[in-house]
Symmetry: C2
Subunit: 338 residues, 2 copies
């Protein structure tokens, strides 16, 4: 049974995921990359995943058969389990919780070889619709406090299957990074009565040295204090708290900028491994006036993260102004569909 | 010129390290590992590093010549530079500082093939003495607020040279993780008037399921909310705030437990890559009653850190009780010198 445990000092939570229990010999590093021919996410192999919780498919097709263009299934080795009863427990001086929650996989395309950077805009929109639908559905469950939408792309970013997919983990507690961001924004708001993300967007537009891409509704920037080379944030240009309320128009423009930014990275950085995650407000509504949802992309180009995540101290060898310049200069027009 | 920049939302600092400026093509991933035969840390090659700032060597040998058993040199590509003048600057809504600080390398042995796990106890003691000496020397410099002692072992943990070495980065600001730990300990102290680390040690001794190794002065445990498989903390058993004040007796017992723990990892996890860092109190003395210095070791066995450092949400597939059991059961007696 998975278990959530709280660090008694800094108060962040950890999932101890017994579904994936690893013994020392499981960590032996393979000398060559395993290339598996069978893919559970390919059309025709639907019976090899847990039954789908949602799919975009023609009305005349049955669940868990081919024909879908987006398919959402529970993770076969879930970090958290929706069938447990939420219970908070004390353990000596420590706090824990039963590993209640959910862990779903969004299969972004039936095409085994496609990626978010190469799919057409329409299909990326469908991915965003799937995020929105599952996000809202998961938050309706009793006991769920947050849902993290994220993607690991490439083995070096933690992806264990190469077929293009994202993940959603719904948790009975809010991730510490989100709490820090909400608290940081609150402090700024107290002084200025403005959203710090809105002010950042204004500053970036004025300075115009860290913008990668912009459309009517969204802006993609290299943040001023980028923790890693080519770290990129995508933000809605007007104040928006909740990703779950994203409008139809914004789904379109968000898909557009996301695909373009990923394509720029793919072309200039040779198809880099990356992680992205959506940081959105809490269902409780706390911070509605001062927190601003956004997506953070971190290409995994350097290997320093281990030391850095232990100190909170980052060394970034690429100034964000240079990173923005490189990404902006990439000519993506040739590889986009008309 | 390196620059420090502050994240305006969560307030952590980032070093933008222009000494190591990287363009997109620098990130092209080599298909095979580069094996370089020349090592600047080998005896005889002293002239290929910046001049030493300290060495343990016989009285009749000259600086920057062979004969040393510990040698400390500035990093050839320093993240921070001691020759800059500390200046705090505003940049629109952002804060920055000139990249003032220091970045030194502790070469732990003249033997190119040795590691901290295989060196004899006496030599590991010498490494700890070097840490202590440079730590105190760096903190005497005006403008330095903290000094982080850390080690990246193995390419997957960020080491770019294989010759056994550690690093010290002295910064004009305190790393955010340290601030979080000090604040967390303070909160606990307010309630109970006890150091949380002292209480953790007591709890762990009582429960006796997560202890890896113990001697008269130190204890090594897998923390209750371990963020990664085989994460291990080494703590002094009595309350101690400042690593810089470590006594001669404790240097001996600290070296002993550190070598033993690393040897256990080496034997049970097939010489894993790892990071370790010493978390110590601040020179200002803030938290003297409730903060407790310790060393954190994180083997780099899983690849999930990228997503996780972006959310503060960790998924650990190995319960710390199991990890402790494996490490404890390793028979290290055969490979230890008598």
């Amino acid at each position: 049974m998975p278990e959530l445990r709280k660090d008694p000092i800094v108060k962040s939570w950890v999932i101890i995921s017994t579904e994936r229990a690893k013994r020392p010999h499981d960590f032996a590093r393979p000398k060559t990359e395993k290339v598996s021919k069978f893919c559970p996410f390919d059309p025709g192999n639907e019976s090899t995943t847990p039954p789908e919780v949602m799919a975009f498919r023609p009305a005349n097709t049955k669940p868990d058969t081919a024909g879908w263009w987006i398919r959402v299934v529970p993770n076969k080795f879930p970090a958290l389990n929706p069938n447990l009863e939420l219970k908070k427990l004390g353990h000596g001086i420590y706090d824990s919780m039963v590993g209640f929650g959910a862990h779903e996989i969004v299969i972004e395309t039936p095409d085994h070889n496609a990626t978010l950077a190469t799919l057409d805009y329409k299909q990326v929109e469908e991915v965003i619709w799937a995020y929105r639908e599952r996000y809202n559905a998961l938050l309706r469950k009793k006991g769920i406090k947050y849902a993290l939408i994220f993607k690991n792309y490439g083995a070096d970013a933690g992806a264990s299957l190469e077929h293009s997919h994202s993940q959603i983990i719904a948790t009975p507690t809010v991730p510490s990074r989100i709490i820090e961001e909400i608290e940081g924004s609150k402090e700024y708001y107290k002084f200025r009565e403005r959203c710090i993300y809105c002010d950042i967007i204004q500053e970036e537009k004025m300075e115009n040295t860290r913008i990668v891409e912009e459309n009517e509704d969204f802006i993609a920037i290299e943040p001023y204090a980028s923790r890693a080379p080519f770290e990129t944030w995508v933000l809605p240009k007007t104040h928006q708290y909740d990703f779950g309320q994203i409008s139809e128009k914004h789904v379109k423009s968000f898909a557009n900028i996301l695909k373009n930014v990923l394509l720029r990275m793919r072309l200039s950085l040779e198809d880099p491994p990356y992680n992205f995650m959506i940081h959105t407000g809490m269902p409780s509504g706390e911070g509605r006036d001062y927190y601003h949802w956004h997506l953070e992309i971190v290409p995994r180009l350097t290997k320093l993260a281990g030391f850095e995540w232990g100190s909170g101290f980052y060394i970034n060898p690429t100034p964000p102004e240079e990173a923005a310049k490189y990404l902006k200069e990439v000519d993506i027009s040739k590889v986009l569909q008309p």
